[in-house]
């Protein structure tokens, strides 16, 4: 994780998406369920990645596979009302990326998520990001 960036600050992220919370995702206490929250991170992450790498859209055989997910729940998230998912690239490898995200509700950071996505192999051959793809990903780093 970055030591200099405040990962709980909205301005640290280059991409933001507001999403309306769903009743179906609530638990018995009106909070969003911890597993359901992963779907909100995904809802925010996919448009971000499509913006970075449109050629990897699902219709073309989505080429990124989620390998690891690390999520912290820093506060309660409630229904109804919108939440905002903020996303940024934290690290770019030869064939993988680390994406950092944060969840905001009523201006407060209520959680953070970090995922590693791996570029899928192409017919058994290890895939790697092209220089152009790397440039686009690096333009969306945290803090940019």
């Amino acid at each position: 994780m970055s030591k200099t960036l405040n990962r709980q600050a909205r301005e640290s992220y280059p991409f933001h998406l507001e999403i309306e919370t769903r009743f179906t995702d609530t638990d018995m206490g009106g909070h969003l369920n911890n597993v359901s929250i992963l779907l909100y991170y995904q809802d925010g992450r996919v448009p971000f990645l499509l913006d970075c790498l449109p050629e990897l859209a699902p219709q073309t055989g989505w080429g990124l596979r989620l390998a690891r997910c690390d999520v912290s729940y820093d506060g309660q998230t409630y229904y109804p009302g919108p939440i905002e998912v903020s996303s940024g690239i934290e690290q770019v490898g030869d064939n993988w990326i680390r994406v950092a995200q944060a969840l905001f509700q009523h201006g407060q950071c209520v959680g953070q998520c970090e995922v590693i996505l791996v570029l899928a192999e192409d017919e058994g051959q290890p895939a790697a990001f092209s220089p152009a793809q790397r440039a686009r990903l690096e333009a969306r780093m945290l803090g940019s």
Partner: protein, 119 residues
């Protein structure tokens, strides 16, 4: 699910089911929501080590990783055909009626302490 594979987000549901089944096995389904077991998930990590393919039957093994004053960490491994395909760690924080961290009772600690991984 991604085509015929289940990814970390899908596995999160299996992790939650595993954790609840683990607690139910420890104290019984009728007591698992009692005050002494009231908590929230504070942190969760899911790491895919292999493909979780559909259809298939997963076997899960798990236990307690750490016990703190107000939290407990659980660890689970998911196996498909005898191969470990996913690892999950989660930290649950015990809370009071106002949602503030609360000390885990000694009786609950004793039950958890008998279920440490590797013991």
């Amino acid at each position: 699910m991604d085509r015929d594979r289940i990814g970390p987000i899908g596995m999160a549901r299996y992790c939650e089911e595993a954790r609840m089944a683990f607690i139910a096995a420890l104290v019984g389904k009728d007591r698992m929501l009692d005050e002494g077991w009231k908590g929230f998930v504070r942190q969760c990590t899911i790491e895919m080590l292999g493909d979780v393919t559909f259809p298939g039957t997963l076997t899960v093994g798990g236990g307690v990783l750490r016990i703190g004053n107000t939290s407990c960490a659980y660890g689970f491994g998911f196996f498909l055909g005898g191969v470990c395909v996913c690892l999950s760690d989660s930290v649950n924080v015990w809370v009071d009626d106002n949602g503030r961290p609360a000390a885990i009772g000694e009786a609950v600690k004793a039950v958890l302490g008998r279920e440490m991984l590797g013991s």
